[in-house]
């Protein structure tokens, strides 16, 4: 695939991205093409509007929040490394990789912890490290259809927070969040095979 490797050279900082995210050359190339395809006006970066153009995202209840997660800290431009960094969270977990990993290096982006952290950030909008009942209620409102009344929603939100909340502060911290999901197969539920 001679032509492909020359394309790889077009990706700026390809080596550092690879090291940081762990994507294979082929995946990175595919993502780069997708990045360019999304960037319709050829600016070299993506704006919120570009992502909002994806029709399927418009009918996804969490679509807006996910778009927001691509733009951390209120920035308005999404460059390719940033794009890939977020998607790296969804790489399937490779257990051999895990075993060979140098424990001194930072955790790979697709570790269980980091996947959970990504999900946590979707809930915790004000970034205070806790999901309050209010934030839980907001997410519930997004995800539940209109035929459920607000009282029912409130009691569900109450219950959810109470279930996970161990120290009784009325909010779910990241550790409590992790604990409540310890039985769930996060590696499978938050991975997309194509991103190997």
């Amino acid at each position: 695939m001679g032509s492909r490797s020359s394309h790889a050279a077009k990706i700026p900082d390809v080596d550092s991205i690879r090291r940081e995210t762990g994507f294979s050359q082929a995946s990175l190339l595919r993502l780069y093409h997708r990045f360019r395809a999304l960037d319709r006006t050829g600016k070299g970066y993506l704006s919120r509007l570009d992502l909002q153009q994806i029709e399927a995202l418009a009918v996804n209840p969490l679509g807006d929040r996910i778009i927001d997660s691509f733009f951390p800290d209120g920035s308005l431009r999404l460059d390719f490394p940033g794009f890939v960094r977020v998607l790296a969270h969804f790489r399937p977990v490779d257990e051999e990789e895990d075993g060979n990993r140098d424990p001194k290096e930072p955790e790979p982006l697709n570790s269980r912890m980091n996947k959970l952290r990504f999900a946590f950030q979707l809930y915790d909008l004000d970034r205070d490290g806790k999901i309050s009942r209010h934030e839980m209620l907001q997410v519930l409102r997004l995800m539940v259809g209109v035929q459920v009344t607000e009282e029912q929603l409130e009691s569900i939100a109450d219950r959810t927070v109470q279930e996970a909340d161990e120290d009784g502060d009325g909010a779910v911290s990241f550790l409590e969040f992790t604990k409540s999901l310890e039985k769930m197969n996060i590696e499978q539920k938050m991975s997309i095979r194509i991103l190997k």
Partner: protein, 767 residues
């Protein structure tokens, strides 16, 4: 038919020999004619059904006796106990009657005993899990069975050439291949019986079990092909026959599946119209599924595949169409029939083993077969898994492979097939019968007994039987949405893409055709169930000594501990909303505590209420089906909400606010409404169903006026004070968009009326 049933059944009592009491003779010569007989013994007339009933009764009583001792049942799987019981009974019958009377007859087995079990598994098969793992299942079923058959047959033939099998076993290569084909198939009945008690994780279970169901086509083809080759004589087999054999594999499997799907379609269609005749709904389900089985059997197609596909295909529509009570009836009846059939099968297996006139022993053959089936199964599994792991998201590790190879149990299907062999064409039949009996006994007893400790020792991931916590449920939905979104961002068109396309097709055409119109709308059931459960909670609250009048608010029961096990809380609803495979024949009953009801209410609510992610939906055993109309409606709602929020975010200074809250809507009790219409809606429990358009408009006006008045009120309100509407505030610009305002109005109306059915009436008139 009853006459045919006769030879199968046993009267396992000492009176076995005397199955017929002599009837009173009308009078021998020399005696005065008897007067009116006060009492006559009519055994002849009731003999056949009586025996059938007695047989089943014995089996059930045996089950009760087994379960009296917990220790025994936790160690020994029920199938073992039943086979041993059968052996014992057979021995008694033999001793008393001097001949073995009752056998597992292939006709009865295939026509009456096998269909309920297969139907039960097909109907309650978790389809999402099944289709997720379909690649692996098909590989094991087709490739694996072929591999097993050929290698075992060839190895046995090699054994004969090497002289380890006595020459009195007259069998050629073809005979051994025939034998290999029938002994190599993993048996669904045995797998179900043993794995049920072991509770391995779902993926493993569905792969082994799916394999046992789907390999029926391969077994049927191989068996028939080899049988006809044997009958033709090996000299007459031509090359075209081999090709025909291969072609027949496709014909049998695809034909069987097609028959099943046709009947599924018919079943779904007929249940659409049974609104006035609810009582026949369970009957329809059973009849049409059974008809599918018989039709496939008649056409020499794979009957098991037909029934499986019928169950898988029709479930969604049938569950939507039939009434709640019919659903329960269907479920219970299926489980009962399947359990009963399984019991009878194992018992008959035991009994049939006793008849030594039917088999002949050859040690070389028996031991060789045992060794080869284990060895080649393990080898086959390892090879196939290695290939499959290149393609799977979650690879199957070594422990899974061990369980899979060890869990390849043979059972009654093999036995029935071997009995069907024609002794004139296959002279070695008796030896094959003996070998089959030994193999089946070995797998069911020895492997069945040891698989539990093995699973524990290997620390295989067990299935999660505890009910999923609310957190898990909610977050699972979140993850599904996230994944769908990420896939959209990446632009990936994989498995999920095709699933999505299928679901679109289903939405547009199939569901409209096959589902009752009223099932399109989101059912009121959610509200009904929630209401009923609330009442039950109140009752249980009172039972526990609380006083309803004096309580300020029912406190939520203490949270379930994360390690709570299943005994107290496995309920129908929770199982259906959870992700576990519902194939357990034993679990029907529910014991619910107050906390569980509350949980059940929450689960019901979430299941029914949560937006379904576009590409994945938790099919499993959920009754709460959101129809295609709802999906479009849901998409529209989400779209509207998102758009509104984006507009808001342009106006608000903070980036992170998703949406501002509207003016807090006060509770029904204390607030005066401006508009009379809205007022009556608020106070009436049940507003009239056909709320016309003008009412809607009136409410819109109310909304607008209220909104504009208080538009200056602060944006963020503490929600502890009052109830808050979960819709974005309708700013004046947005109100001018026709749809948005109506949507808002609709939401207002819904909130005020709290009548789901009404809401949908309105939404239907508008959207």
């Amino acid at each position: 038919m009853l006459r045919a049933a006769l030879p199968l059944l046993g009267l396992p009592l000492a009176g076995a020999g005397a199955t017929e009491k002599p009837t009173q003779e009308p009078g021998s010569p020399g005696e005065p004619p008897p007067g009116l007989a006060l009492f006559r013994w009519q055994w002849h007339e009731v003999e056949a059904p009586y025996l059938v009933a007695l047989w089943i009764l014995v089996a059930s009583l045996a089950k009760i006796v087994f379960h009296l001792s917990r220790k025994v049942t936790s160690l020994v799987p029920e199938s073992c106990l039943l086979i041993l019981l059968g052996l014992a009974l057979g021995g008694i019958v033999l001793a008393v009657a001097k001949k073995a009377e009752y056998q597992l007859e292939p006709g009865t087995f295939f026509l009456f005993l096998l269909p309920p079990i297969v139907l039960d598994s097909g109907y309650f098969m978790p389809s999402r899990l099944f289709f997720d793992n379909l690649g692996a299942i098909l590989t094991y079923a087709v490739v694996g069975t072929l591999w097993n058959a050929f290698t075992t047959g060839a190895a046995l033939w090699g054994l004969q050439q090497a002289g380890l099998v006595a020459p009195r076993v007259q069998a050629g290569l073809l005979d051994f291949l025939l034998f290999g084909s029938l002994i190599s198939a993993v048996d669904p009945v045995a797998v179900l019986a043993v794995f049920e008690e072991v509770h391995v994780n779902e993926t493993l279970f569905i792969i082994v079990f799916g394999e046992s169901l789907l390999n029926d086509a391969v077994t049927v083809v191989l068996y028939k092909v080899c049988n006809s080759f044997v009958e033709m004589g090996s000299a007459n087999v031509r090359a075209t026959d081999y090709l025909k054999g291969v072609a027949s594999l496709f014909v049998v499997s695809l034909g069987g599946a097609a028959v099943g799907l046709v009947f599924a379609f018919l079943l779904a269609l007929t249940t659409r119209f049974t609104k006035r005749v609810r009582i026949i709904e369970p009957l329809l389900v059973f009849l049409l599924a059974y008809a599918a089985y018989l039709t496939a059997e008649m056409a020499s197609l794979s009957a098991i595949l037909a029934v499986t596909m019928c169950g898988l295909g029709c479930k969604k529509y049938v569950e939507a169409n039939i009434s709640h009570k019919s659903r329960t009836a269907v479920k219970y009846t299926m489980k009962t029939l399947a359990s009963c059939a399984e019991t009878v099968i194992f018992m008959l297996l035991g009994i049939s083993a006793v008849d030594s006139s039917k088999w002949a022993w050859d040690s070389g053959l028996v031991l060789g077969t045992l060794f080869f089936i284990l060895f080649f199964r393990a080898l086959g599994v390892v090879l196939q898994t290695w290939v499959l792991n290149q393609f799977r998201l979650v690879p199957l590790d070594k422990i899974d492979q061990v369980v899979m190879s060890y869990g390849g149990l043979r059972g009654a299907v093999a036995f029935a097939l071997v009995i069907l062999l024609d002794r004139t064409k296959v002279p070695a039949k008796d030896y094959f019968v003996a070998t089959t009996i030994v193999v089946v006994f070995f797998t069911v007893i020895v492997q069945g007994l040891t698989i539990k400790p093995l699973v524990k020792w290997l620390k295989v991931k067990r299935s999660e039987h505890h009910k999923p916590t609310l957190n898990q449920e909610l977050h699972e939905h979140t993850f599904d949405h996230i994944l769908a979104a990420v896939e959209d961002v990446v632009g990936h068109h994989g498995y999920h893409y095709w699933r999505d396309r299928w679901e679109q097709f289903d939405k547009k055409y199939l569901s409209q055709l096959l589902m009752r119109r009223s099932a399109y709308r989101i059912r009121d059931q959610i509200w009904d169930v929630y209401y009923r459960l609330n009442i039950r909670d109140a009752i249980s609250f009172v039972d526990q000594g609380g006083h309803v009048l004096s309580s300020t608010g029912l406190t939520l029961p203490s949270m379930p501990s994360r390690n709570s096990m299943a005994e107290t809380s496995v309920t129908n609803l929770l199982r259906e909303s959870g992700s576990g495979a519902c194939l357990d024949l034993q679990v029907i009953d529910t014991v619910r505590s107050g906390r569980d009801r509350e949980d059940a209410a929450m689960h019901h609510l979430l299941c029914g209420g949560l937006y379904k992610p576009r590409r994945r939906y938790k099919a499993s055993c959920s009754r709460h089906f959101i129809s295609e109309d709802a999906q479009e409606r849901q998409d529209k709602e989400v779209f509207q909400q998102n758009m509104k929020r984006r507009l808001e975010s342009f106006k608000s200074t903070k980036h992170n606010i998703c949406f501002t809250k509207s003016k807090p809507r006060p509770r029904k009790a204390g607030h005066k409404k401006k508009d009379g219409v809205a007022n009556t809606e608020a106070t009436n429990g049940k507003p009239p169903r056909d709320l016309g358009f003008h009412d809607t408009a009136a409410v819109i006006l109310t909304v607008e006026s209220e909104e504009e008045e208080d538009s200056d009120s602060s944006e963020t309100e503490k929600e502890d004070d009052e109830g808050i509407i979960f819709v974005a505030r309708a700013t004046s610009e947005v109100l001018q968009e026709g749809k948005a305002s109506v949507l808002t109005a609709i939401k207002m109306v819904k909130l005020s009326s709290k009548e789901l059915g009404t809401c949908l009436e309105i939404s239907r008139t508008r959207i």
